[in-house]
């Protein structure tokens, strides 16, 4: 079984010229975690995820503090919204280079790549680099675990 057998083929993607606000609204409406960014020829050129969007609301400074346990109240951080000029910028300004695999990629290799890059969703591309689908960790892991089903003959 390869990644193409468990991925979702109906992928919600976005074009690089749309705004960051559009991307955020798409995430809200469709309740998804990763938006592949594709050009006019459906080629995958990047991805914008929850983390990329959230850095606008929760700046990077949290990473400087080894341990945020002592901060019992984030105060104004909780209510500060990103400046609107940031939200009007194109998706291309915030997107990250996409990490993807091709359709024939094995499940465990796909999973290992996700672990290594701390991804929750993995875009799948064709040999020409066209976006073909998207597999989540659940899609991949469930497909792997399906192999553990006890056969009727009694042999695992």
């Amino acid at each position: 079984m390869n990644i193409k057998d468990c991925m979702k083929r109906d992928v919600i993607s976005i074009s690089p010229t749309m705004t960051v606000r559009d991307a955020a609204m798409l995430v809200v409406e469709r309740h998804i975690g990763l938006l592949p960014v594709i050009d006019d020829e459906d080629k995958l050129i990047g991805a914008i995820g929850l983390h990329d969007l959230l850095t606008l609301e929760l700046p990077d400074f949290v990473n400087f503090i080894a341990d945020v346990d002592f901060v019992h109240d984030f105060g104004a951080v909780e209510t500060t919204r990103p400046a609107s000029y940031l939200l009007e910028r194109p998706v291309s300004s915030l997107m990250q280079p996409a990490i993807s695999v091709d359709e024939e990629c094995g499940l465990l290799r796909s999973y290992a790549i996700m672990l290594q890059h701390q991804l929750l969703d993995l875009p799948v591309v064709s040999a020409e680099g066209k976006l073909m689908g998207l597999a989540s960790r659940v899609d991949i892991c469930a497909a792997v675990l399906a192999g553990w089903k006890i056969e009727p003959s009694g042999q695992p």
């Binding site: 400074f61 341990d67 002592f70 019992h72 209510t79």
Partner: protein
Amino acid sequence: MIGTILSTLLFIAILGLIFSEKINRTIVAFAGAILMVGLGRVLGFYSEAQAIAAIDFKTLGVLLGMMILVALLEPTGVFQYLAVWAGRLSRGKPIRLLILMGTVTTVLSMFLDNVTTVVLIAPVTILISEILGISPLPYLMAEALLSDTGGVATLLGDPPNILIASAAGFSFVDFLTHSLPIVIVAWLVALAIMRYLFRNELAVIPENPAAIFRLDVSEILTDRVTARRVLIVLGVALLVLFFQGLLGISPAFIALCAAAAALVWVRPDPSKILKQVEWSVLVFFSALFVMVGGLEATGALKTLVSILDNFGNVAPVIFGVILIWLVAGISAVVDNVPVTIALIPIIQGLGASGMNTDPLFWALVFGAGFGGNGTIIGSTANIVVANLSERTRTPITSKLWNKRGLPVMLATCLVASVLYVIAFPLFSR
């Protein structure tokens, strides 16, 4: 003669490479030192024994001792504790926060490395200002500027001070009587200027300051026992430093004693602590000593000294003021450590030809110390703060620094110059 010319050219080339910051300064200086010794061996002006003798182990000892103490203190959370404590004490009032954060940073950087202080305090500053919903800009810049300024006050505050103290024989108390008073005035002036330059940012009153009272101070201090032990050792060391002149022991010995005592008392994993020591800084200093030693051995510095000696007719006080501004100007754009290491033997050379060197050394202290405030690359603390600020909503740019940091540098140098002139008899001892 050929040795003089070649070693001078080598030294200038290496300084140029260090200041260009294209290649890591430690690598450049290390290679330069090796080339200098090689050149000296081939042309017969500089032996390996001379090169080793040129290294000022008194400076290295102070640096190493203090680095070990800081390495022990860093993971205990005591720095963050002080920063959060200052934040709470300010009750979220911007100007009070500026003064308190500035004071904490200054006091710490008077005894510890400026960069370490800023690296540990600045993130907490960003956190506090984000929680308050105000711009961290004034506080971050104040911390860099005031830690540089405060560092001038003591022997331990700044590497140039350690170098100058070792070369000129200034004691810990000498710094407190000569440098501290000027620094206090300069510090207050710097604060007043920042209060004015950041008046717009400081006028924003946080809507909900209550959140900072929910920062749990007790949770930050992760290792009370170690913190207490290291602070006690540090306190005793400072006390002994007061009587350093009477006891006839060097600051290096005191700093290393303190480091040894703290290591024995805390007994940490030594590999972890020694990894925290900034060996690259120690190698950089040693390499510069070896290079300047080579220059001295060829007599290149003597030539320069004799040229400067022709200015002997200039009143010493004017000479000192010129030195303050010259060194400050250079230190604003380049690393002040090589500048100091190169100038020390020149001043000593002038001393050998009869000039009183004490006022010149004090001028070097003020110029090298306050000069770093001038530009965003003037001191490592500035660079660190600017890098951290890039990850906030309000990055500090070079342009911004020129508008808000440069005036502080000019004012502190002006204060230092005026007080230097007024108190010149004191500086001439």
